[in-house]
């Protein structure tokens, strides 16, 4: 049986806890204010993350010495072989010059050098062509003097020569072609070509040196969200891991205005018995945030690259506005046909905007976004690169659960050096 004097348990619990307070424990404020002061002294979380990234980036070159070494090794052989042929050439030419040797010997050398050229295949096509032309000319000259039979006899013995000696022979032929007295216009052109090629290889070697593995830049990025146009700016850095891959990071400040319209629940509103109601229709937030991206860049070729990564996101300030649909019962006065005034009740509905005191994002840090982008870079004045990079940022974790649509995309305009 229900006893009206006694409360039901659940009702009793609700009342008990409605204004329930514990007694204040002395010393709590002191502990709190001390902790607060400590927190203030320490760097904010985003600064710590930036420091860690910077540290990682500066330590990376020392952790990856093998990669850097390999790169220089790849370039060196080309350089060295060029030099070798240039240096050794004069002595070889002296020894094998046509004036000091008999015609037969000359024939053998010429024959041999042709064979070797086809076997070894020098790296540069131009060089091969050049050597071929010169030696064939010599061979033809000698054919006029020496009978073919003797050439055939001597040929095989030279085939057994070691490849090391043969290399010297190639070099001697090459140089003889360019340095000899009957130097033609064509060989001058070849010389200039080889010079310019040497210069190019020197530049490429310079580019791969350790100093040039770092890349810094400034960027500005207009972004478009679902309904608003925002803008951000920042600094970027990239470290080249290999020819194709590099790690990119940076820091940028973003100003984002985002909103979301809430679809009213028709079923729920039909049940409302009172005529006065206040319904949340839209949320609009203005956020200033620091974004620290970390990404892996794949260089498709010299001009194009693709990048994927994540962003650490720290909200510096946040302002929210809620738009309510306020429905209120009002009394209106009207006049009937006789001119008499009468009152009638009406329902008035209007949209009201209110600043919300809630700032659920402010001061919080998140692993905020997945970043995807593709970029086109163009070198200007040798040292600088202008980059145009369309990107998409997709919120993850807590950010994606927010009642705001934070997915955004835009174009980064970057000047790197």
């Amino acid at each position: 049986m229900k006893d009206p004097a006694k409360k039901e348990l659940i009702e009793g619990i609700s009342e008990l806890f409605e204004n329930y307070e514990e007694a204040y424990v002395p010393g709590e404020w002191e502990a709190f204010s001390q902790k607060k002061r400590k927190d203030r002294k320490l760097f904010p979380v985003w600064m710590k993350v930036a420091a860690v990234l910077l540290l990682m980036a500066s330590v990376l070159p020392f952790l990856l010495p093998d990669t850097a070494e390999k790169e220089t090794l790849v370039i060196k052989p080309a350089k060295v072989s060029d030099n070798k042929s240039a240096i050794k050439a004069p002595t070889a030419t002296d020894v094998l010059s046509p004036a000091s040797k008999n015609p037969e010997a000359l024939v053998h050398k010429s024959q041999k050098s042709i064979k070797i050229i086809t076997d070894i295949k020098p790296k540069s096509v131009n060089e091969t062509g050049k050597v071929n032309i010169v030696t064939e000319q010599k061979e033809n000259e000698v054919y006029a003097v020496v009978p073919p039979a003797s050439k055939n006899e001597i040929g095989p013995s030279y085939k057994e020569d070691t490849s090391r000696r043969n290399t010297v022979a190639i070099a001697s032929n090459d140089i003889r072609g360019t340095n000899s007295d009957d130097r033609s216009k064509k060989s001058t052109l070849d010389f200039l070509k080889s010079e310019s090629k040497n210069a190019q290889s020197a530049t490429s070697a310079k580019k791969t040196s350790k100093n040039d593995q770092w890349d810094f830049g400034v960027e500005i990025m207009p972004t478009i969200m679902k309904s608003n146009l925002n803008v951000g700016a920042g600094l970027t850095t990239a470290y080249k891991l290999s020819e194709k891959f590099s790690i990119s990071s940076g820091v940028s400040i973003l100003q984002m205005e985002s909103g979301k319209n809430l679809v009213p629940d028709i079923g729920a509103s039909a049940d409302v018995s009172t005529l006065s109601s206040k319904e949340l229709r839209a949320v609009n937030a203005n956020i200033s945030a620091i974004d620290i991206p970390l990404g892996l860049v794949y260089n498709v070729n010299k001009n194009f690259y693709a990048s994927a990564g994540v962003s650490y996101f720290n909200v510096l300030s946040e302002k929210r506005n809620n738009t309510y649909n306020r429905t209120a019962e009002v009394v209106r006065t009207a006049f009937n046909q006789d001119g008499a005034a009468y009152n009638f009740q009406a329902v008035e509905s209007k949209l009201e905007e209110e600043a919300s005191p809630e700032t659920p994002l402010k001061g919080n840090s998140y692993l905020g976004f997945f970043n995807f982008s593709i970029g086109r870079q163009q070198a200007i004045f040798n040292r600088y690169n202008v980059v145009i990079e369309p990107f998409v940022k997709i919120p993850i974790g807590k950010l994606s659960a927010q009642d705001l649509q934070l997915t955004n995309s835009g174009v980064k305009f970057k000047l790197s050096f």
Binding site: K7, L9, F17
Partner: protein, 188 residues
């Protein structure tokens, strides 16, 4: 003007002047109330204290923009409710952070205890012990609905669960509480 009114008048003035010295008085005045809220959600007292401190941190950052119409009575109510709301949300965040999701429920036999009268005066400590025996999610829904006064729609959004689940968990929590209360009286 009684003591409380003087305090609230001082708080209003300090908020207007952005005077940080008022933080201490606010902290001392509301600490017990916020602890009362956070301990209903979080069993571990140290964690509950952390929630209260985090809530004060959040409140102290934004309270200078707190809107009010300089009416002392209204201000008392709205400011207190605002602090309570922050504490509830911080508690939920804490629960979420400690567990992967607020979805795990230890199953117990469904009991149907429809009506239980309070035999004698209820004590917060005793009821708190009963609340701690409920699964986290059931206790959270009970607190949010019966004490904080949120609707099932709001609870569903806050906890990311269907509205029907919110209703079910509430019913189960109530039945279980009644059963636990009855048992505790019988033992005594």
């Amino acid at each position: 003007m009684d003591k409380k009114d003087i305090l609230f008048q001082e708080i209003i003035t300090a908020l207007g002047n952005r005077d940080e010295r008022i933080q201490e008085r606010i902290y001392i005045h509301y600490w017990g109330y916020l602890m009362g809220i956070s301990t209903r959600y979080i069993k571990d007292r140290n964690a509950a204290k952390e929630v209260v401190n985090d809530s004060f941190m959040k409140a102290f950052k934004t309270m200078y923009d707190f809107r009010h119409d300089h009416n002392l009575t209204d201000f008392q109510k709205t400011f207190k409710a605002w602090l309570a709301k922050i504490t509830v949300r911080t508690s939920l965040d804490k629960i979420r952070a400690n567990k992967t999701a607020l979805s795990y429920i230890e199953e117990y036999d469904d009991v149907t205890v429809g009506y239980v009268e309070v035999e004698e005066k209820l004590f917060a400590e005793d009821i708190m012990k009963l609340l701690y025996e409920l699964p986290d999610l059931h206790r959270t829904v009970f607190n949010l609905y019966e004490i904080e006064g949120f609707s099932h729609d709001e609870i569903a959004t806050m906890l990311n669960i269907p509205v029907s689940s919110s209703r079910t968990y509430l019913t189960r929590a109530k039945h279980k509480l009644r059963e636990l209360y009855k048992n505790s009286i019988n033992i005594n």
